[in-house]
Assembly symmetry: C2
Homo-oligomer: 298 residues x 2
């Protein structure tokens, strides 16, 4: 459970930090970012987990999303893990140079931008050679919250989850598979029905194998159909000019249809002109944090 601080920058009255630790779930070193609002100096704070999209590390969100001012205002700790085990670097203390090392050194992990490194899809893989290390679902829902609650001034009963694209899929799946665990869930341009889109089919084939019935455990649209638990107010922003919407990778209509059928409330905002980038995310980040704050600080 020992954490190594990689960086610490004062931001919006609090601190944006990055830590590295040995993950027992993933059997490799992992980095995560944590924003500590000013309130965390004196009080226990709720935690919002953020899951990033394909190719992202823990850095993209903390440098580009503009989340810190709103997190500071609402007194929320924001945790953003890396999106998979990955090759990373450590600093040689003698020469002060960065040396590469493998997170887990899996053959083929760096061959695709949408599979392997940076593309865990937040599942627990069952197929070789991924099943030993690619256990991001358990990491995000179990190990990481344990690490965060043990090391930071959290209120462990108050957590929520949010994400973008592949991470939006991850956020929805984590919330739907764990009724009551997350007080709120929201997403930017999430992959809503991965079983039916090329990204999801490639990832689930590789991590979960050819039996499509095993894929259902990680498909938000399927999970909504069988959801029974406390009311979830799902909040989704989607750019209308998002290239991955038009190429049928995201399929929000499928999720919304099932939610309507099941009478699960969804706030779905189709934002005209917006694409899939962090320019879209930063435009509406404040709204998402406000949504989470409403439930986390209730």
């Amino acid at each position: 459970m020992a954490l190594t601080q990689v960086s610490s920058n004062k931001c919006a009255g609090g601190f944006q930090k990055v830590f590295e630790h040995d993950s027992t779930e993933l059997k490799c070193k992992m980095k995560f970012a944590v924003y500590l609002p000013p309130k965390a100096e004196t009080d226990k704070c709720p935690v919002m987990y953020w899951l990033s999209g394909l190719t992202c590390t823990e850095q993209n969100f903390i440098t580009k999303a503009g989340s810190q001012l709103a997190a500071a205002e609402h007194g929320i700790i924001v945790v953003a893990p890396d999106t998979s085990p990955r090759m990373t670097t450590h600093t040689d203390l003698l020469s002060q140079t960065a040396l590469p090392y493998r997170g887990c050194n899996i053959e083929g992990e760096d061959e695709s931008w949408d599979f392997g490194t940076g593309a865990s899809f937040f599942v627990d893989a069952t197929q070789e050679p991924w099943s030993t290390n690619y256990r991001m679902y358990s990491y995000v829902t179990e190990e990481l919250p344990r690490v965060i609650n043990a090391n930071f001034p959290t209120n462990p009963d108050r957590m929520s989850i949010c994400g973008h694209s592949m991470g939006g899929h991850g956020a929805l799946v984590c919330a739907l598979k764990n009724p009551g665990k997350y007080k709120a869930v929201s997403a930017f341009a999430p992959i809503c029905n991965p079983m039916q889109c090329p990204w999801g089919q490639k990832a689930f084939s590789g991590y979960l194998g050819p039996d499509r019935s095993t894929w259902e455990a990680y498909d938000a649209t399927v999970l909504v159909a069988s959801y029974s638990g406390p009311q979830l107010d799902i909040f989704i922003d989607q750019g209308r000019d998002d290239q991955f919407l038009s190429s049928s990778q995201l399929l929000p209509d499928n999720l919304i249809a099932i939610c309507s059928e099941k009478k699960i409330p969804v706030i779905f905002r189709l934002q005209p002109g917006y694409d899939h980038s962090y320019y879209f995310i930063c435009s509406f980040m404040n709204d998402h944090i406000k949504h989470h704050a409403k439930y986390l600080n209730a």
Copy 2:
């Protein structure tokens, strides 16, 4: 004056765009970013110019500073040029691949991170081999505003300038050398007295030569001493834990002392705990844009 659009992303209700053009002043292709607030769809808007720090391109500010929401709110166009001529890329239209080409191909331009590429210091160089291309002072104060006013819905009488570190020095110098041209000036952790710091001495020696009297034209502290023009309300934020403050690269005390003597009002905020990074900048960006809006929209 023809502009080539490099990118366009909807952001905060407006558009964050990047353009490339052939600069006559710099005799090379240059990129700049421009944020167009929603108001620019129907009205002429004032323009805030942003000058970035050492090593930055036009990208750093637009991805990390969190400026767009406030610029949208106050109806301000924000222009962020690159910080020097530089090697850059163009897209081969046939193969759709990025090809490198030289901005101006000056021997030694890429040898230092604090001189040459990414480190123009916003002066008009007088020394070979820099004097042909490194004319960033004239580019920023003359050519770029002409290009912007000719291509975007600006109110050409309402411009202001802001910057960080080397770009904070640039912003102060541009405002002090052109009384009345800029309605407001502010800076994050500016290099305030470059003649007295290692960064400035290296840059000015290279671009302006050994005669230190020529350096005075680009030193904010010297320029304040002889300033006569409309009242300037200089606004500066400085992190107290900024490593470049403690290593005497920034020297704000020298500027403040002269301002006090000359009764030039300065709002100087020494922000405890903050460093030199964009985490510092994004923490106070809203305050700076509000300051500029007060004068630009008056």
